[in-house]
């Protein structure tokens, strides 16, 4: 009967306009220096497991945020580019529609949420993610005593056989909203910072509410430099990148 009770209220709304918050992240590629502080920050915050040498050799490292490094040109005209890559939180996420059990879904605040305890591990979402940013727990992650003392109590430790990915530090978002609610106000720009944005030494990562037209992310997203990765795929990511400048200072 409870099921029927639930059926009475069906909310269908366009989070882009109707919701107070729509979280977005802007990454300035011109600023990113590939130092990897964000990678460790994310790992520390989100209980991301280290898998060890052998598993790394099988390309099973779990970093939710990785820095992709591309090389262009031939010696001596070599250019190295860094591209921080994490879950893009697509508005039209390819991963969401293929999950048979709704373990990944879109939440009203524009985030692509992975519910670990719902996941059965078909890995279809991973196949359909053009950015390849979903990571699978091939084994139970090992946090042996006493390393487990570092585990963040806000984030669950994932079991073997489930997908995981960047959550934009939803525990921080939740806490930020919680604090704002306690103080009887809306979340303001800068209240909430995911671990990577918080720690980025060069300030390449900015996080905020893109529905707030006064926010930094809104302004940056409309700065003309903003691009989405694989724009032609129509995924409409919530993570946007600011293109680097030109390289032709000196020939």
């Amino acid at each position: 009967m409870r099921i029927l009770k639930g059926s009475i209220k069906v909310k269908s709304f366009n989070y882009k306009e109707d919701n107070d918050y729509s979280w977005s992240m802007i990454i300035d590629l011109d600023r990113c220096n590939g130092c990897g502080a964000c990678v460790i920050g994310c790992q520390a915050e989100n209980n991301v497991a280290t898998v060890g040498e052998e598993e790394v050799g099988k390309k099973r490292n779990m970093h939710w945020l990785r820095i992709e490094r591309y090389i262009e040109g031939e010696y001596p005209h070599v250019k190295v580019r860094f591209l921080p890559m994490m879950c893009q939180h697509c508005a039209q996420a390819p991963c969401e529609s293929v999950c048979p059990v709704y373990a990944t879904y879109h939440n009203p605040e524009g985030l692509n949420v992975q519910v670990y305890n719902r996941c059965i591990g078909t890995r279809f979402c991973g196949n359909n993610c053009p950015y390849s940013v979903r990571y699978f727990n091939w084994f139970d992650s090992s946090f042996p005593e006493p390393v487990n003392n570092q585990l963040n109590p806000d984030v669950s430790v994932r079991e073997r056989g489930v997908m995981e990915k960047c959550s934009m530090c939803m525990q921080r978002i939740r806490r930020g909203k919680d604090t704002a609610k306690d103080e009887g106000r809306e979340v303001v720009d800068g209240d909430i910072q995911p671990a990577c944005a918080q720690t980025c030494p060069t300030g390449a990562i900015t996080f905020g509410n893109i529905n707030d037209h006064e926010s930094k992310v809104y302004k940056m997203a409309h700065s003309g430099r903003a691009i989405s990765l694989f724009e032609e795929k129509g995924t409409h990511p919530a993570v946007k990148y600011l293109k680097g400048g030109t390289n032709d200072v000196i020939g």
Binding site: C35, N61, H63, R66, I67, N149, D154, E159, N247
Partner: protein, 743 residues
């Protein structure tokens, strides 16, 4: 009841069990014995301000603890070095507190190796040795001015025969020594990258091995995109395209040891431009004329050949240097790593001064420009917390080793540094150490040096310990960093400095305080009057708490500290120094230049036992858990090796074998090897992972400063047996297809 008392909690059981486990195992809920002060949120956790001690940069950090456990390290937003940020190594400290291989009990080397002894016995032995040594001892730390070295200095400093030395990161000493004639107080130059529009990085791997990668990161961010309409542009010159070079707009592969010539050549063009365009009116015209003459031999056309660049390249560096003022030049390891390093640094400084004169209003010039009086607060703070900076160089270390060889010391204390591993084989530290009768290693882990020591004292992790530190490498401002325990000691360790104090007291030596905490408090009181900006009405204790809350003391407004630059009279002094000597190399008959470099994760090898850091992909190679040698694909082809093939690199001092990583961003005559690998006694994760590049190095030193010239080694490279799977994150073909993102 101070904040430590409620660290006594053991907390609501930490959540480590797997998802989906909802068994009916009776879980315990263990409350505090003493209620924490009101307002604390036991789940949100408490944030404590302290100082990161993973390297000597002295970043202010805040640490989140929940239920008495360290959870997360973040930058302290008000700290002038970290500016609210933290690097990978700093953040990984949260894991190293709980490292299963931490030492837990004092160990004395006997006939059958180390055996655990109690703390009381350790203190007894130590105090007995203190008495016997009669001051003939040395204290060696990692080159930082912190409470431990301050305590050692105050106990033994006045005794004859006591030597305090620091095993500093290579390169700093030269930076300090460069242009020492200009200022009395030597320190690392910090050109104002924040406000620069154009920057030339001369081999400066500021994000990897700079004094503070975090500080430089912030500066770079500001330079690049901090201003609305200006995009700062950077050019990197050096023999390898490092991670720092990768973010620069242009890379000029200059042969090793020639960057001084490049700087002078740029200076030549700049001086000519100043003359023809009548810029920089503050420079006396006759000085310009002299410089012009002195720099004649560095005309781009004349040096282009030895720099392996086209003359236009040099011009194209110089022209924006003037046009896009303000601009700065930053020198780094590829300048200081050669025997002509300090000479080259003079040229760099000369360029920086020219830049300042051109863009006078726009640039906050770096600190070394400011001749400071001897009683400068920063210097006094540094001395109060240890030895003056010049004592921490390689020269002092060389002297120390010589003293050890000669049997000048009957005892040595090695505090959180690993010279057996990270000093060049040519220095022969290990052999010298054996000649010292009794060595004490104060360390967190059993490392190569601790293994050689007679007594090993397991120290607190720095997150569990009291200390204070003054960073040498801060632009323009005196900083007094406080380090406080954010958790109760997790293992049964004791603070090394506390033990020193206790042993000294037992040996009836004069001790500055009973505990490190008291020592730090005393130092705060000592400088309180000069610590501007803190509320004056606070009681001493309240003031201390105020500082603890903030993480230390520094002037509230960093900008205000920027002192005006000395005018042309100082520049005038440079007229005779504008020379770039030929680089000299150890093992010059060998075909390849060895290019040891630091990576962002390993440091000097301290990071090697951290799972997080080992698994974090290196920015350039994206290798994980692995040691490698970089060489140009052309070189690799000549040697007949492909990625993963083992090569043997050998010099007169030793040899290492490593898998090849062909990398286009490196000169064909250079092989680059990362520092920090090849541990032999540093725990499961670090041991046997590659080779230690330090074994290849002799102790070649800079001609002027005596600093270690750690890149002036030439080596032989030959193909060796075997292959190794390269644990890359990037795909070897895919990494060249970045254009799919249309960035």
């Amino acid at each position: 009841m101070d904040r430590r008392s409620f660290l006594k909690l053991s907390g609501v059981a930490a959540s480590a069990s797997a998802v989906g486990a909802c068994s009916r195992v009776s879980q315990k809920v263990i409350p505090f014995v003493e209620t924490p002060n009101d307002g604390a949120n036991p789940v949100d956790g408490d944030w404590y301000a302290t100082t990161c001690r993973e390297c000597n940069a002295g970043c202010g950090i805040i640490v989140r603890t929940v239920n008495g456990r360290v959870k997360k390290i973040e930058g302290n937003a008000i700290h002038p070095v970290s500016r609210g940020k933290a690097c990978a190594r700093g953040q990984a400290a949260a894991l190293s507190v709980y490292h299963p291989e931490r030492l837990t009990s004092p160990m004395l080397k006997g006939a059958g190796g180390f055996e655990a002894i109690g703390w009381d016995k350790a203190v007894d032995i130590l105090s007995q040795r203190f008495t016997e040594a009669e001051g003939k001892l040395f204290f060696l730390n990692n080159g930082s001015n912190d409470a431990a070295s301050g305590i050692a200095n105050e106990i033994f400093g006045k005794m004859d025969g006591f030597v305090s030395a620091g095993n500093q990161e290579p390169g700093f000493e030269s930076l300090v020594a460069g242009g020492e004639s200009l200022a009395d107080f030597p320190r690392i130059p910090f050109p104002d990258l924040d406000h620069a529009q154009f920057a030339i990085l001369l081999g400066a791997d500021i994000f990897e091995s700079g004094p503070s990668p975090v500080f430089w990161g912030g500066a770079f961010g500001e330079c690049r995109r901090g201003r609305a309409s200006v995009r700062g542009r950077l050019v990197y010159a050096g023999s390898r395209l490092s991670a720092t070079a990768a973010v620069c707009d242009l890379w000029l592969p200059v042969p090793p040891g020639r960057l001084g010539a490049l700087a002078l050549s740029v200076a030549q063009v700049v001086v000519e431009m100043i003359i023809t365009r009548k810029l920089a009116s503050s420079i006396p015209r006759n000085a310009l004329g002299r410089w012009s003459v002195a720099l004649k031999e560095y005309e781009p056309e004349k040096v282009a050949a030895q720099l392996e660049l086209a003359p236009e390249h040099i011009r194209k560096l110089a022209i924006p240097f003037v046009d896009e003022s303000p601009s700065v030049v930053i020198a780094g390891a590829d300048v200081t790593g050669y025997a002509n390093g300090v000479a080259a640094l003079d040229a760099v400084e000369f360029l920086n001064m020219l830049s300042y004169e051109i863009g006078r209003e726009k640039l906050r010039i770096h600190e070394r420009m400011t001749p400071e009086p001897n009683d400068n607060l920063k210097r006094r703070m540094a001395e109060a917390l240890g030895v003056p900076h010049e004592a921490h160089g390689f020269s002092r270390l060389t002297d120390l080793v010589a003293g050890m060889e000669q049997g000048n010391f009957s005892m040595g204390i090695i505090h959180h540094t690993n010279p057996v591993f990270d000093t060049p084989t040519g220095l022969k530290f290990k052999d010298a150490m054996a000649k010292v009768g009794f060595t004490v290693a104060i360390a967190n882990f059993m490392d190569e040096t601790a293994a050689e020591a007679t007594l090993v004292l397991p120290d607190h992790h720095w997150l569990e310990a009291w200390s204070a530190q003054t960073p040498d490498f801060v632009p323009g401002v005196p900083v007094f960093n406080l380090q406080q325990p954010v958790i109760q000691p997790f293992f049964g360790t004791k603070s090394g400095s506390d033990i020193m104090l206790a042993a000294a007291a037992a040996a009836k030596l004069k001790t500055p305080a009973d505990t490190t905490e008291a020592f730090v408090t005393g130092k705060i009181q000592q400088f309180r009057a000069e610590m501007q900006g803190a509320p004056a009405y606070l009681s001493d204790n309240a003031f201390r708490r105020h500082l603890l809350r903030e993480g230390g003391w520094w002037p509230a407004q960093v900008e205000a500290e920027a002192a005006p630059v000395p005018s042309g009279t100082v520049l005038w002094e440079y007229r005779d120094k504008l020379k770039a000597p030929e680089p000299e190399f150890d093992g010059a008959e060998n075909p390849f230049f060895l290019h040891p470099f630091q990576t962002v994760h390993m440091g000097r090898g301290q990071g090697a036992n951290s799972g997080w850091l080992q698994e974090a992909p290196d920015p350039i190679t994206t290798l994980m858990w692995q040691f490698w040698v970089e060489m140009n694909p052309v070189t690799a082809a000549k040697l007949g090796v492909v990625e993963g093939d083992m090569v043997k690199i050998s010099s007169a001092h030793g040899s290492i074998t490593a898998p090849v990583f062909p990398y286009k961003g490196i000169r064909p005559d250079v092989v680059a090897v990362p520092i920090g690998y090849g541990h032999t006694n540093y725990g499961k994760l670090a041991n046997g992972r590659g080779g230690n590049v330090m074994t290849l190095l002799g102790a070649k030193r800079d001609a002027i400063s005596g600093a270690l010239a750690w890149r002036s080694q030439k080596v032989k490279v030959e193909k060796a047996e075997g292959r190794m799977k390269m644990l890359r994150n990037a795909h070897p073909e895919g990494e060249y297809k970045g254009e799919v993102f249309q960035l």
